[in-house]
Structures are given as structure tokens and as C-alpha cells.
Amino acid sequence: MHSGGASLAVDALSVRYGAAAAVRGVSLSVSPGEVVGLLGPNGAGKSSTLKGIMGIAPVASGEVRLGTVEISGATVAARVKAGLGLVREGRGVFGRLSVAENLRVCARDQSPMSIDAVLAMLPALEPLRSRRAMLLSGGEQQMLSLAKALVSGPSVLLIDELSLGLAPILTARLMATVRSMATELGLGVLLVEQHVNLALGILDRAYVLRRGELVAEPPIAELRADPASLRQYYLG
């Protein structure tokens, strides 16, 4: 997407809400074409990590680099321009705007992905172009949310809870789309997902987060073979 595809490197990121530290010294990386999972129990700091990387949560310390560009202090808009994208938890769509208008707001001239190209990847949205986003079903809104992030042309996409409130079959379909985009377009993906079983199928690597700290980087093959083994990381 962003030409060449840059990799994301996060070094010792800490996110604090007032006195409460949500994320402590997390370091991770995502290479082009790679789908990386960020797993962990509720309240582990997964969403806060994504928000910290994106600059919409208060970062106390740490460094974020996209390719060779250091973006730690940059505004959200500057990070988007540098090639970072976030699909927010809970369907971040502009309800009063139509699907096409939603995409138009997010599309950027520099983006290698045109609106038409994105709709070709998510064909279910095509017939809904002129419908108001608030009238879409949950799955359609989630797709639109993904499409919005894609038309801004990210080289690394952060995805927070793609499955939230969706039927497993829909989630599986969206996961497959994400996988194929990563493989075909060299898009790096950092995925936060509660439904680990659904996510495991598309992950290349995974980090496990507990109480704001990275505790493990278990081999995917092992997790696929025995998903229950993840529990030991959660419980510590």
C-alpha cells in the first residue's frame, strides 16, 4: 500500500491514564505482509497499546517508528499520513454520512488504494454506497470501518476487535479478507482479538500481553495445535 511497505517498530511504549499505567514498556514489531496478533485477557492493555501507537491515548514514554520515520511525537493526522491506520473497536463509522461519503472523507490523494479498489476487496459494500452508515448492519459497519482505514492507504494497519458483536461466520470472512490483503499487498497488520480461535488461523506471529506488560511470544504452530495452552500465559 504505502510503496515498499514499511515495518512498524515499537520500543518500550508506556501508556498512562492519570496515575494508572495501562501499558508498561511494550516493545514489538510488525513487518510488511505480516499479520501479528496481540493477545491477552481483558484489561491487559491491548487496546491501549494500539491507541498509544496511534497517538490517541496518552503516551508516557517510548518510541514508535514506521520504516525509518520516527513518529512518537507526531499528531494523529501526521501518523496517518506516514502510513499508519487504525480500525477502532466498536465500528467507528460516521453515522449520518453515506458509505461513499464515509470513504471519501478518509480517502487520501497519496493513497495507492482507490475507493473502487477497496470496494472490490469488500464487495458486500458496493451495493450500499449511497446508504447512510447508521442504517447498515453490524457486519456491514465493521466492513466499512475496515474500508475506511484502507482507503487512507496505510502500510501498517492496527485492528482493534474486528469480531466485536459479530457472528462467528462474519468474523471468519473478515479475517480471511485481512489475511489476503496482507499477503497480496504487503500490508502489515497488528490485530487485537478476543476470539483467539478465529484469529489463530490467520496469524503469523503473536504477542501475549498481561497487566500491561509483554509476557510471551509463543510460537503460532504450538497455539494452533493446542489453543488451550494460551491459558497458561494468561494466568502467568
Partner: protein, 653 residues
């Protein structure tokens, strides 16, 4: 028939103003969420700059003047609009952008601060004499049958429609416009699209400054130009914007034009012989109020739900404020002040006490219940005028006549509460503002309802003692001061009792969440009505006392601006605390601070500008109101004092 058509066309002039301003209000409200009461005052720089340039060749800016010699109409138009745009942008950047995440109350109050500032500022720069502004649009007479009307009204209507279409097109067809609409719902979402919400909103305020400035210059020839009258053009514009639900440019545009036509037709019909004489004056000013009521009836369902009230981030209420010892101290202070002062200083002390009662009425309704009301001064006016009418027509005198007057104010307050059962936040502020304008124009200034000889009020007497403020050469008698002091202390204690009672607890429950309050069995409607009635009675008491302190009542004591400034000073004093009302009384016009400012700082004519600026700055510094700071100060003073008398500090601060 031709005459009716002619009047309808004439009405397009003020209709275009209402429509143009409503478009501006909708534009900014739809994007930043701020309903700006100061909008008309803000963009009226345009016609003033334009007029001064075309007549004298001097470019008078908010700060500084440039002599550029004879100027063409087009150059003057461009420069006038440019000044309005710059003022609008500066107001956004300095006031509304920093406040964008604060409560509706803070934003409303700040916008009223902007209104007061801009009005005073323009008056300082250009004077208050009415100006007749030259035409930009072609103005040849147009004959309709036997009637001749100026052609510019039609061009004005056309201009405002084109303007509306352009603005609507911006919001629907450009990426920036779409993103602005998106940002009003989801600021982070727009940032994630790589855009800057601040920059988008700044653009919207530029558009609003342009639209308002342009329309006011084009329409200025239809109305004489004064800072006050143009500031108040916000009222019909707000009514129209409310009808448009602060969203639809189309409704704002057509509704504004229609309102102007209706107002003009009302002017026509009120000259007819069959029209009741008492309704001849002020009908034009009542029209926006009627429109507001109609708009609420139509849109009631779509107005903000009661879950999203004005109460978000309201400052906390201290139910333990101004205890017995503090009240005693306050009483002593006022008593001493009354005794040692004389003449105009004592009058300032008395005014301070009266205005404290007035502010107390706002503390009850806005501070405790979270309803932004601009009506207290109008309610006070009702009481004052009823007092005068009762004394003129009946044999009732003090103390019966003021009680009747206060009851009348309470009754009107009860009526005001009826719309407030369905609406909240900014909407209520608009209703009460329109209502206040109606009361001023339709009642207080109506020659049929107020005798030309003036509304004389006799001195209050009790048991043969003259409690009047004037007697012979004495202009501020202590007897009246003591009467006011007794009533102030009674009001303070009464409100303290109120907020500490279980009824007070229900008020606070409603303030924080109406739905939650209802769910635990609080009768929200009945409680609100009671609070409005109590608040109105306090305002009525203040109105009666204002009447007695002036001896003769005039509408000038109860203008819309007086109403705005009471909200201003009460917010500055601390709208959620009882002692805040006393601070507000000190700050109010003709009160002690005003007296000091005009006597020692010679601030007299700048007082409104300074007060408006102080208001804006204080909201910015502390969007939750000054009460917390004042309370801290009060407790420090009290601790200091009680230490001085060898007592241990009290618990109630």
C-alpha cells in the same frame, strides 16, 4: 392585495438578515456544537467597517485605524467582510476551540460574554448613534400596481438563497465539508482519516464570518445600524436556527425569509382598525418567540434527549454553603456598609443586595437544577410592572401589593417551566431569551400597557414607618436599605434551607441525570415546575425592590441585556453556590464593584466590555465556573476572621 404583497416584499429585508444569520449559526453549531449567542454581535463589525469606510475613508479595525482615503463600495464591502471573518476566526480560536469539550452551560455563557464584549467594543469604536448605510445592491423602486417597493429586498432574498445553497453544497459535496459533519459526531474518527478537526472547524467559522458579514452589509440599508439593534438580531436568527434543528441549511434559509415576511405582514395588520390596540406594538418582536414555541412543538421529539442534559461537567453544588455564622457575618457587613455609607455609595450597597436576590433566582434554577434561563430579569420586570399596575388601579399597598406582584412573577415562571419540561440546555436559553425580548417589547415598552405618565410606585410603608428609598433630599435612605437587607437574609436562608432539604436533593438528582432521577421515583416534571416557580418568585422579589428603589419603573431596568448580564455575573460569582449570588450582586451593574470601577478606575462606559472580557477569560480559565475559587477564598477569609476573634475555624465553608 397589492399592499399585502408590498409588505411581504419589504419583510424580505429583515427576513434575509434572520436567514443569513441562521445559516451562520447552523454552520458553526453543526460543526463545533457551540450555539453562539454572540454571532450577530461578532459579524456586525462588517456593516460598521463598511459604513465608516464608504463615508470617511477610514478603516476602523477592532484595534487601530488606517486612513485609506476614498474607497469604492466594492473595496469597502470586501474589507468589511474580511474584518468579520477575522473576528469570527479569532473568536473560534480564542474562545470556542478551547471550550469545545466543556459543558453546554460554559459554552453558552462564554458566547454571551462574546455578545457583551462585541457589542461594547463596536460601540466604543463606532459610537452608538444610528447610521444610515448606503446601498450595495440595486435599489430602484419597483411598482406593484399602485404600490412602490424598493427593489433591493428581492436581491437580498436572492443573495441569501444563493449563499445558503453554497454553504449547503460545501457540507454535502466537498470532502472538507463532509469531514466537518463527520467530526461533529466523531472527532477521533476524522483524525484517523488524517485530517485536523481544528482546521476544519476554523474553516467553518471563516464561512460563518463571511456569510454573516456579507448579509449584514447587504441588508444594512433596510435597517438603521446601531450596536444594540444588530446585536439583538441574534434572537429571530436563533428562533429560525432552532426550527432548523441547528442542522438544516434549507430550513434556516427559507424559515428566516418566511419569518421576515410574517413580521412585516404583522406590522401591516396591526395598523388595521380591527386589530386590538394593546397588541399593536411589539408584535414584530413577539413573532420569533411564537416561532420558537412552534418549533419546539414540531421538533420536540428530535431535540436532545434528557440523557444528554446541560449538566455534563457542571460544577459541584455545596449544600453546606453559607451557614449560620457566615450569614451573620454577611448581615453585619451589609449593616455596617449601610450605616457608614451615604448617597450614591449607599445606593450601590442597596443595589448589590437587590442584585444578589436576583442572582439567587439563577442559582436555584441554573445552579441547582441545571436549566439555563435568561428570563429572571424579565420575570423581575413582570413583578415590577404588576406592582405598578396594582397600585395604580387598586387601593392595595405595601405589603400586599408587592406580594401580588411576586405571585404574578411566580405564575409566569410556572408557565415558563412548561416548555422547560421538554427541552433543556441551549434550547431553554433560546426560549427564555426570545421570551425576554417579547416581554420587553410587547409588555414593558408597550404604550397601551404602560401609561405614558410612567409607572409610579409609592414608597413602601409599614406601621406608619416610611421605608421608601427617597424622601425629600435624601436619595438612599437607610430604612429602605434595612428592608432590602432583611429580605436578602431571608432569601439566603430560605435558599439554604431549600438546598439542604430533601427537595434540594431531588433538584440535584435531576440536575445530574433526569432519567436516573425519574427511575428512583422523583417526579421530574413537578419538581422542575416547583423550582421554576421558586426561582421566579425570587426574581419577582428583586423586581419589586428594583421598582421601589427607582420610584418609577421603566423598561430600561429590565432589558434583555440586563438579563444577559445577570447570567454573566452570576456565573462569575459562582452559579452553584449561595454565596456566589452575593458575589454576583457585588459585580452587577450599579453594584459595589461597578461603583468602585466607575469612581476610581473611570471604567463607567467600558464596564460592559471589561465584564464581557472577564466573563470569557474566566470561563476559559475555569469552565466549571468560579464557585470553587470563590468558595476557597470565602473559607480563607472566614478562617482568618474567626481566628482573629479567637474562635476555631468552622466546618461549613
Amino acid at each position: 392585495m397589492n399592499q399585502i404583497l408590498a409588505f411581504a416584499i419589504l419583510g424580505l429585508g429583515s427576513g434575509a438578515i434572520a436567514a443569513g444569520l441562521a445559516i451562520g449559526i447552523v454552520t458553526t453549531a453543526g460543526s463545533t456544537g457551540a450555539v453562539n449567542f454572540g454571532y450577530a454581535a461578532m459579524v456586525m463589525w462588517a456593516p460598521f467597517v463598511f459604513d465608516e469606510l464608504t463615508k470617511t475613508g477610514r478603516l476602523v479595525l477592532p484595534v487601530g485605524t488606517i486612513d485609506i482615503g476614498p474607497t469604492s463600495v466594492m473595496t469597502a464591502l470586501v474589507l468589511g467582510v474580511a474584518v468579520a471573518v477575522v473576528v469570527s476566526l479569532a473568536t473560534y480560536w480564542l474562545v470556542f476551540r478551547p471550550l469545545r469539550r466543556t459543558s453546554v452551560l460554559a459554552q453558552t455563557v462564554a458566547s454571551i460574554g462574546v455578545l457583551l464584549c462585541m457589542q461594547a467594543w463596536v460601540a466604543l469604536r463606532f459610537g452608538t448613534d444610528p447610521r444610515v448605510v448606503g446601498n450595495v445592491l440595486p435599489n430602484e423602486p419597483l411598482a406593484i400596481g399602485s404600490v412602490v417597493v424598493p427593489r433591493d429586498r428581492l436581491f437580498l432574498a436572492l443573495a441569501v438563497v444563493v449563499l445558503g445553497m453554497l454553504v449547503a453544497a460545501y457540507f454535502h459535496f466537498t470532502k472538507a465539508g463532509l469531514a466537518t459533519r463527520a467530526a461533529s459526531q466523531d472527532e477521533v474518527g476524522v483524525q484517523l482519516a488524517g485530517l485536523s478537526p481544528s482546521r476544519l472547524n476554523a474553516l467553518v467559522w471563516v464561512i460563518a464570518g463571511f456569510a454573516g458579514g456579507l448579509i449584514l452589509i447587504l441588508a444594512a440599508p433596510t435597517r438603521s445600524l446601531t450596536p444594540t439593534s444588530y446585536t439583538l438580531m441574534i434572537v429571530p436568527a436563533m428562533a429560525v436556527a432552532l426550527l432548523a434543528r441547528f442542522r438544516s441549511i434549507t430550513v434556516a434559509c427559507l424559515g428566516g425569509l418566511a419569518l421576515g415576511v410574517v413580521q412585516s405582514l404583522l406590522t401591516y395588520t396591526s395598523t388595521q382598525t380591527w386589530w386590538p390596540k394593546w397588541a399593536a406594538a411589539g408584535m414584530v418582536d413577539a413573532a420569533p418567540f411564537i416561532l420558537v414555541v412552534v418549533a419546539l412543538a414540531i421538533n420536540g421529539r428530535h431535540l436532545p434527549g434528557r440523557g444528554e442534559g446541560a449538566s455534563s461537567a457542571m460544577p459541584p453544588v455545596s449544600r453546606d454553603s453559607l451557614g449560620g455564622r457566615a450569614t451573620a457575618l454577611l448581615t453585619m457587613m451589609f449593616l455596617v456598609a449601610l450605616m457608614v455609607s451615604g448617597g450614591s455609595l449607599r445606593f450601590a450597597v442597596i443595589t448589590t443586595m437587590i442584585m444578589a436576590i436576583m442572582s439567587l433566582s439563577l442559582v436555584v434554577i441554573t445552579g441547582f437544577v441545571g436549566q439555563i434561563s435568561l428570563a429572571p430579569v424579565a420575570l423581575a420586570g413582570v413583578a415590577g410592572f404588576v406592582l405598578s399596575a396594582v397600585e395604580r388601579r387598586t387601593a392595595l399597598r405595601f405589603p400586599v401589593s408587592p406580594i401580588v406582584a411576586i405571585a404574578a412573577a411566580a405564575a409566569v415562571g410556572f408557565l415558563v417551566s412548561l416548555p422547560a419540561l421538554r427541552i433543556r440546555g441551549t434550547q431553554l436559553a433560546i426560549v427564555t431569551l426570545a421570551g425576554a425580548v417579547t416581554a420587553e417589547q410587547f409588555v414593558f415598552r408597550n404604550p397601551q400597557l404602560s401609561p405614558p405618565a410612567g409607572n409610579l410606585i409609592s414608597n413602601p410603608r409599614l406601621f406608619g414607618i416610611d421605608l421608601g428609598i427617597r424622601s425629600g433630599s435624601s436619595l438612599a435612605r437607610i430604612q429602605f436599605g434595612l428592608l432590602v437587607l432583611v429580605l436578602l437574609v431571608a432569601s439566603l436562608l430560605g435558599v439554604r434551607f431549600l438546598i439542604r432539604s430533601s427537595f434540594g436533593a431531588t433538584l440535584l438528582a435531576i440536575r445530574s441525570d433526569e432519567r436516573a432521577a425519574a427511575s428512583v421515583g422523583i417526579h421530574v416534571a413537578r419538581t422542575k415546575m416547583a423550582a421554576f416557580t421558586i426561582s421566579a418568585a425570587l426574581a419577582g422579589l428583586a423586581g419589586v425592590l428594583i421598582g421601589y428603589s427607582r420610584g418609577q419603573l421603566s423598561a430600561d431596568s429590565f432589558t434583555v441585556f440586563a438579563g444577559l448580564s445577570v447570567l454573566t455575573f452570576t456565573f462569575l460569582g459562582g452559579i452553584t453556590s449561595i454565596e456566589g449570588a452575593v458575589f454576583a450582586g457585588v459585580l452587577a451593574p450599579l453594584g459595589l464593584a461597578y461603583f468602585a470601577a466607575s469612581r476610581f478606575l473611570h471604567l463607567g462606559e467600558n464596564y460592559q466590555l471589561v465584564a464581557g472580557l472577564a466573563l470569557v477569560v474566566s470561563v476559559l480559565a475555569n469552565p466549571e465556573g468560579m464557585s470553587a475559587q470563590n468558595r476557597l477564598l470565602a473559607s480563607r477569609i472566614k478562617t482568618r476572621l474567626s481566628r482573629g476573634t479567637g474562635q476555631v475555624g468552622t466546618s461549613d465553608a
